[in-house]
């Protein structure tokens, strides 16, 4: 009986939890509701270009299709200090000239940034985190097992 309940619950939960979309009619606001930061629709578009330059579409979806720009915004808004947030907003502002530029040009711009650039560090780390933890990658590429049902401590590999 318990098992059936558990399986039923699995179905309910598997459908849930996508990034909440706000219902704002103001077209200048970003797509998702944020608590601390105020990104415009324009910022969001620019971020989509930037994350796409980090993880582009190939024969599989890239960062834009996976909505990683929205994920980056969410994480900067909720999981970073006010100092980090300030650096991020400034870094994004400085990136404005990249609007409409090719992925190659954006990548070149990234490579000119100093190693310790906070904006780029946050952008890249969060894009990678969002990618590795995305439903697409975890279901299709680097498979995540919710219920392994086994442990083998000595599996032969070719190395």
């Amino acid at each position: 009986m318990k098992r059936r309940t558990a399986i039923k619950q699995l179905f309910i939960l598997a459908g849930g939890m996508v990034i909440a979309t706000s219902c704002t009619r103001d077209r200048k606001k970003s797509t998702i509701a944020l608590s601390n930061l105020d990104f415009s629709k324009e910022d969001e578009e620019l971020l989509a270009d930037l994350v796409e330059a980090i993880i582009p579409e190939t024969d599989s979806p890239g960062a834009r299709t996976l909505n990683l720009h929205l994920f980056v915004m969410k994480m900067v808004d909720d999981c970073h200090s006010p100092e980090d947030q300030k650096s991020f907003v400034e870094g994004l502002k400085k990136s404005k000239p990249l609007k409409g530029k090719s992925l190659g040009e954006i990548q070149t711009y990234f490579s000119t940034l100093p190693k310790e650039d906070t904006f780029f560090a946050i952008l890249k780390n969060r894009t990678i985190m969002g990618y590795q933890n995305s439903e697409y990658v975890m279901k299709n590429k680097v498979i995540y097992e919710l219920v392994p049902g086994r442990y083998d401590g000595a599996v032969k590999v070719n190395s």
Binding site: L10, L13, T58, S60, D78, M138, S159
Partner: protein, 571 residues
């Protein structure tokens, strides 16, 4: 849960009251109910029903808003609980937040709490190593605390009893310092853990590396199926609550079992204020509760009372139970209540890498977490410059990594094709600390919480013995790691504050002499025999083993005794 008519005293009277529904309270309740006593279980937090109230249990990583990372503001607002390894998006709802239940730290103490039905049994690390006479004889041999009023033989049948029901996976290792039990099949050590075992045991015959024993159903028996539990599915997402009942918790096991008898009344949202003592009758008659939500004061009555509020809160309740007879806390003739609190020294870890056995990896996940090294220091005789010793956890994992230095297609390709790295290995210490009168908890004279209960002051610290022991642990493990050919050895001796080990014990210690202890060998208050304390508060000393299994065994043993005494008319 039965509807509670609180109008008449008769309706508020039970055979037994259990304060707390965590790992020991659940056991007290199960045993009392099975033996036919109408039992009221009081839980200060909200109800958590098995499976139904595990909202995150089947969620995938991408379904968490922040992919399981705690938001910045939550961490800022909760510096204490944020230090706990399990405090993430998937289980944060089972932890007490710092500002909800403040306490006074005279010395830094990271008090980790779970206020809900099931308590911390939902969140525990599920390690279940028995204690032995090397532990129970420790205080007498080494001259600290007071002698335990029991020995391993007193507890053995009750370890057997609770292990069979809870489901404990482990090997029979034949070690006197870590007695064997009623085990389900053990989880295997992986290739590197096995290699380390051989390396250690060849070089040091008195040191053992075994598969850690844990409260997971590796192979369900009829008794587990009857509880509605099934085989552990190796998810290792236990802190969310397990839909399979694969690990032991009050919620999955003892509480539903107690409920099936028809003798259980579970009352969540019931903050216990104090135990009511009747001066004429010379015994406890009930428990004063403040309803968590309405703040209404309600008294419940019973012939016997089991205090299982978790070590520190059990101290708080007894300290706050004052009367003319006991002005300094219930049963506190010895003036030891709140004192001799101890814990496990978890303040050091050591990590390294292993470049061998690269043609192997692991698959699936190991709920036991890997290996366990029982205490070998000062076991048969005193041999170091500090008292007692430490046990250690040991685990090996095959790391996988992706080169993230690139950008664009290169980066993407690298992320989608993670490479197996070297083996990572790690160990943490669990050191016995010496209970001292100067490590204490007490009530603040002025400050009260929102239920009108005095705030607790906690004054607990490490000492020189802990410092020497820690150094020895690091030196010894480094030597064992070096011997095994591990490289890049990193010592981590970050002194985490006491409390974060979540193994706080004592304050209501057992002992032979009522002048120097609170409880007798049956966990009865010497001075108030119808009150039993069977959680961590009762511990005279701490051993080096994870304590929960021992609380379970004490609870079952104590109930058995209480019922025999009731039949004789003692209460």
């Amino acid at each position: 849960m039965a509807y509670l008519n609180i109008d008449s005293q008769k309706d508020r009277t039970y055979d037994a009251i259990v304060i707390g529904s965590g790992i020991s309270g659940g056991w007290s309740a199960k045993e009392l109910c099975e033996k036919g006593l109408k039992t009221l279980v009081l839980e200060r937090g909200r109800d958590v029903k098995h499976i139904k109230d595990y909202p995150t249990t089947n969620m995938y990583p991408w379904e968490f808003e922040h992919r399981n990372e705690m938001p910045y503001q939550v961490k800022q607002d909760n510096p204490i609980v944020s230090k706990c390894y399990a405090f993430h998006e998937d289980a944060a709802h089972f932890f007490v937040k710092d500002n909800e239940h403040p306490y006074i730290q005279e010395k830094p103490f990271d008090w980790i709490r779970g206020y809900q039905v099931g308590g911390k049994s939902l969140l525990w690390a599920r390690q279940t190593q028995r204690w032995s006479d090397f532990d129970f004889e420790g205080p007498a041999r080494d001259g600290f605390a007071v002698d335990w009023p029991i020995r391993y033989a007193d507890l053995k049948p009750w370890y057997d009893h609770v292990e069979r029901f809870a489901g404990i996976a482990g090997d029979k290792d034949g070690l006197p310092e870590l007695p064997d039990g009623e085990f389900l099949p053990a989880y295997p050590l992986n290739v590197v853990e096995k290699y380390f075992k051989q390396s250690v045991e060849n070089k040091y015959p008195t040191r053992k590396v075994i598969s850690a024993r844990c409260a997971h159903i590796s192979k369900p028996q009829p008794i587990h199926i009857q509880q509605g539990r099934t085989q552990c599915q190796n998810r290792t997402l236990c802190q969310r609550g397990c839909p399979f009942g694969g690990y032991f918790s009050s919620n999955a096991s003892t509480l539903p079992w107690a409920a099936k008898t028809g003798n259980l009344t579970l009352r969540p949202n019931s903050v216990v204020h104090s135990i009511l003592y009747d001066e004429q009758k010379g015994k406890a008659v009930g428990v004063k509760v403040i309803d968590r939500n309405t703040k209404e004061e309600i008294d419940f009555y019973a012939k016997i009372i089991f205090v299982n509020a978790a070590a520190i809160n059990t101290n708080l309740i007894l300290l706050n139970s004052t009367s003319t007879r006991f002005p300094n806390g219930l049963g506190n003739d010895s003036e030891t209540l709140g004192k001799y609190v101890a814990f496990h020294n978890y303040s050091a870890r050591i990590y390294a890498e292993y470049e061998g056995l690269l043609d192997y990896t692991v698959e699936g996940r190991n709920p036991a977490g890997g290996a366990y090294i029982p205490r070998f220091r000062n076991l048969y005789k005193q041999e170091t410059n500090y008292l007692r010793g430490y046990a250690a956890g040991f685990g090996a994992y095959r790391s996988s990594y992706a080169d993230t230095s690139g950008l664009g297609e290169d980066l993407k390709k690298s992320l989608l094709n993670p490479k197996l790295g070297s083996w990572g290995v790690g160990s943490h210490m669990m050191g016995e600390t010496i209970p001292k009168a100067s490590n204490y908890v007490a009530l603040d004279k002025d400050k009260k919480d929102e239920w009108g209960i005095p705030l607790l002051k906690i004054s607990i610290d490490y000492d020189q013995n802990d410092e020497k022991m820690k150094k020895d642990y690091l030196d010894t493990l480094e030597e064992m790691f070096t011997e095994a050919g591990f490289t890049n050895i990193r010592r981590d001796d970050n002194w985490q504050a006491p409390g974060l080990d979540i193994h706080e014990m004592g304050g209501v210690r057992m002992g032979l002499d009522p002048k120097t202890s609170m409880l007798n060998k049956w966990n009865q208050l010497h001075a108030v025999p119808n009150v039993f304390v069977t959680d961590g508060a009762a511990m005279t000393s701490t051993s080096t083993q994870n304590p929960s299994l021992t609380y379970m065994a004490f609870s079952a043993r104590s109930v058995d005794y209480a019922i025999k005494e009731m039949k004789k008319g003692s209460f």
